[in-house]
Amino acid sequence: MTTPSLDAHLQVERTGFSLDLALTAGAGEVIALLGPNGAGKTTALRALAGLLPLTAGHLRLDGKALEDPAAGLHTPAEERPVGVVFQDYLLFPHLSALDNVGFGLRCQGRSKKESRAEALPWLARMGLEEHSAKRPGKLSGGQAQRVALARALAVGPRLLLLDEPLAALDARTRLDVRSQLRRHLAEFDAVAVLVTHDPLDAMVLADRLVVIEDGRVVQAGTPAEIARRPRTDYIARLVGLNLYQGVADGRRVKLASGAELTVADELTGPAFVAFPPAAVTLHRGRPDSSARNVWELTVAGLDLHGDQVRADLTGALPLAADLTPAAAAELDLSTGASVWATVKAAQTHAYPA
């Protein structure tokens, strides 16, 4: 990446909430802002779109300053080369699908006829040519999503923003639309930023994830990096890993709670340890196995997770364990029961904090 296409430092102060997010991206890159509800994802998106003024920081796109509160510069939304796909699409209900897509072109001064002629190929790319005369109310959720995408792309934005693009769809449509969206985003030559709380959407659609919590970046990287080395409980839960933070000394990591973990990687200083719930083995009595990590824990809850039983354990350390329903029955697991849990050092992954 030479000079970044998008160079933003978004700072927004509001009562009870502050956002401080640095974001850079090269042309053609797809960034996913991932975070729990209330983390500031939508605020960031609105700030990028120009719908919410920055308190401080800056926003530059393709080398051109769009916003710089220190210099008193705020380019209004309608003058930014930014396209937005809203969560519930906000297609204009009184216009046909074709005129929705042509709306931005008309705002650029094209005649009705010209805008329609230019909008039609966009609908065709989305496979919606035969629906061009329909009003949004007559479109299915998946079709409306594609019309919204076509409408945002038709004006040739240099930054495309997508707010929870798949959240309003049912599970079946979602799968279909996700793969199409992935294709359209891959073809898009400028920067795309999408906001989601669904890790699967983020990992499928984005080249790079930026995880935010409480208005701050807690982790950024490729989907693979983040899935392998989560740095907060939120991400660990999203990617389905047990995660602990402690201080490493060789192959032992001491946690704040006093519990110790033996790991395969050798390192010193503050460290994270992560391992999947499937790496945990449960026993009714004290095991004689070679595993170095052995704890006696209490079952806090059980629920079905796909075809596995997920046991939530508490005690010296909180732990999630996956086992087959048969194994769960054999162990006679129930809430409040006492079990021994073992984890082989070789199945853990330790990395510096």
Binding site: A49, G50, L51, P76, A77, E78, E79, R80, V82, G83, V84, F86, L90, F92, P93, H94, F103, G104, R106, C107, Q108, R151, A152, V155
Partner: protein
């Protein structure tokens, strides 16, 4: 879904409506319908053709329709932007201004007429200046009728349009902005079409109010046949001298009102 499906519940309950509600309800209905029935029963039907053939009647009706429609036009041009300002912007004193806008709704129209005279009359605070600088005189002219009617009718439109604007999702305007629409374009091309039913309902209300305007009109514009004498003034005047003519004129107004209501009901004022 069960909550919405009220039809069977309603049918079941219909059999035992409490008398304490039914009686006043029926009385209220009679109270509203009886005067209209009286008008129809006592109408001099045989004399109607001759009553209505007088050119004075048609002059008054024509003037009424022109003035009410012009007043509605003025209300639309000024009232819709005013409603937008009240619904979509924040400024100090917005609540006070909103109260001022709705004041003509509750103000006795005669008081409105007096107020208009004091403001736009020949010696009024603005009227004096209009007279001396441009030679424009508003009171006791047809334009004065339009002004008096607009003064009384515009609040109905503003309230109706403001309600529609508040109910419309402002994020559509944001969506339009991200597509390059200025605030004015977004209003014109997105918001206005979306609130059209509210604007239509407001315009009908304003038009009906303007058509029936009496107090402010007679105070500010006077009662000159062919110039400022609208139907309501003609009815009132005829009542003193020739009741049959008054009834005939009233029937014409009633017919016009019903025609408007029927013509627009399906489009704008349909309620479940």
């Amino acid at each position: 879904m069960r909550l919405i499906d009220t039809a069977p519940v309603r049918a079941k309950r219909g059999s035992r409506i409490p008398l304490a509600l039914l009686l006043p309800a029926l009385l209220g209905l009679v109270f509203l319908v009886l005067p209209l029935a009286g008008l129809l029963i006592r109408a001099p039907w045989s004399a109607m053709p001759s009553e209505l053939s007088s050119p004075a009647v048609w002059d008054a009706l024509r003037l009424s329709l022109i003035c009410a429609t012009s007043a509605t036009g003025v209300s639309l041009v000024l009232g819709v932007p005013l409603a937008w300002l009240l619904a979509r912007t924040e400024f100090p004193g917005r609540r006070v201004i909103r109260a001022l806008v709705t004041l003509p709704l509750v103000l006795p129209p005669v008081v409105g007429g007096v107020a208009l005279l004091l403001a736009l009359g020949r010696n009024g605070i603005v009227g004096r200046w209009l007279d001396s600088a441009f030679g424009i005189t508003l009171p006791f002219t047809t334009t004065g009728v339009v002004i008096a009617e607009a003064f009384v009718a515009m609040p109905f439109l503003v309230i109706s349009v403001e309600g529609a604007l508040r109910a419309a999702d402002p994020r559509y305007e944001e969506a339009a902005a991200t597509l390059g629409a200025s605030r004015l374009t977004a209003f014109r091309r997105v918001t206005l079409p979306m609130i059209a039913p509210g604007v239509g309902a407001g315009a009908v209300l304003a038009w009906a109010r303007a058509l029936g305007e009496f107090g402010a009109t007679i105070t500010f514009a006077g009662n000159f046949p062919g110039k400022t004498q609208t139907m309501p003034l003609a009815v009132y005047l005829a009542m003193e001298t020739d009741p049959d003519t008054a009834i005939a004129l009233s029937l014409v107004l009633l017919a016009v009102s019903i025609a408007v209501l029927v013509g627009l009901r399906d489009r704008w004022m349909s309620t479940p």
